[in-house]
Structure formats: C-alpha cells, structure tokens
Point group: C2
Chain length 117, copies 2
C-alpha cells in the first residue's frame, strides 16, 4: 500500500517515454534515470524492469542491440515506430486518468471555473 501500488500501469509508459527521449538506453541506465528523475521516489527493481523490457520487446514496441563493454554485456533498447504510437496512446490515457483522479480527489476548482457545482 505504499506508493509502489500507484506505480502499476505506469511502468511501461515511463520506459517508453525515456526511450523516446534517449534513443537508446540499457536496463540499468533506465533504472538509474527513473531514480534520478523521480528524486529517489521511484526505485525500479530489476524484477520489475527486466520482465517489463522483455514484454515490450515481445510486443515489438522496443528493439534491442547487444553491446560488449569489456567483458560485460549491455542490452541497449530503443523504441520502435509501433512503440512511439503506443507511447502516445498511453500518454493520452495517463493524462486523462490523472485529470480524472485529480477531479475526484482534489476537486479544487481550477483557473477557469468560477462556479464549481
């Protein structure tokens, strides 16, 4: 019931967003970026991240390229055209959801509604 619950449904959206912005990133890098951008509030666990990436790959929303750095392997992921489209869909959905939830939970009238019902 900590805020990790709230994360559900947003993980792939976040990943697609980062890949849309960065053109290629590897798993560990994504996790670090999320940590950084969220100011340590969202800590992606490997057990969430890697399966999510594999799923995105299977769905054709990202593609992967393996690189060897020293003796280490890095798997760079990049977003596909399909992934871009999916990202947009998820953005719209998320945007709408955020508005809806704020509408319910924090019903302060916004800038343009002088007479809230």
């Amino acid at each position: 019931m900590n805020s990790t619950e709230l994360l559900k449904g947003t993980l792939t959206t976040i990943i697609l967003k980062l890949l849309a912005d960065h053109e290629k990133m590897y798993g560990y890098e994504i996790a670090q970026k999320v940590k950084e951008l969220s100011e340590d509030k969202i800590l992606l666990k490997e057990g969430s991240l890697y399966p999510a990436l594999h799923k995105l790959l299977k769905e054709g929303l990202v593609e992967v390229e393996t690189k060897h750095v020293g003796k280490r392997v890095r798997k760079y992921y990049s977003i596909t055209k399909q992934g871009q489209a999916k990202k947009q869909l998820q953005f719209d959905e998320l945007q709408e959801f955020l508005e809806t939830i704020q509408h319910i939970i924090f019903p302060q009238p916004n800038q343009l509604s002088p007479h809230a019902k």
Copy 2:
C-alpha cells in the same frame, strides 16, 4: 493495459475521500458517485467495490450501519477517525506520486518556472 490498471492503489483512496465528504453512503451509491464524478470514465465493478469496503471495514477505517428500505437492505458506510487519518496519508502519498509521475512523463515547465532545466 487499459486505464483500469492505473486505478490500482487509488480505489480505497477514492472511497475514503467520498465517505469523508458525504458522511454516509451505501455501496451502490458510491459506485454511482464515482461514475458521475469521473464522467463515466471510472466504472467501479461490484467485484472491486464490495471487497474493498469489507477490507476497509475489517481495518476499522469505515463503519457500517444496515438500513431497510422497503424490503431491501442497504449498508451505509461512514468513515472513522482512523479512516480520516488514513485518508490523509493516502492523499499525501497520491499527491506526491502525481507530482512525481508528471515530472517524469509531462516535463513541461509549469506556470512558475521560467527556466526549466
């Protein structure tokens, strides 16, 4: 992967919020209210609502009063003092989460930051 995923973790927050505002409501009424407030975007299913109410009851966050309307039974729920406190905690968590997620996903500078990084 529809927006119902996004709902996870917010259901009890929504219920507590409505009960905090309305002092007593019965299940069906809650479902209708959510439907109304969300403009038909969030449709609470019975299979989600009733178990959630039962759980809140068991945790002492709400209390219940049975009323008979004609031959029908209605169970009116009201929020407890504990529930109020919990609601506040969840509000704070949600608020923070919404800010964080918007920070990641929709990084447009808001009204008061002329020089976004």
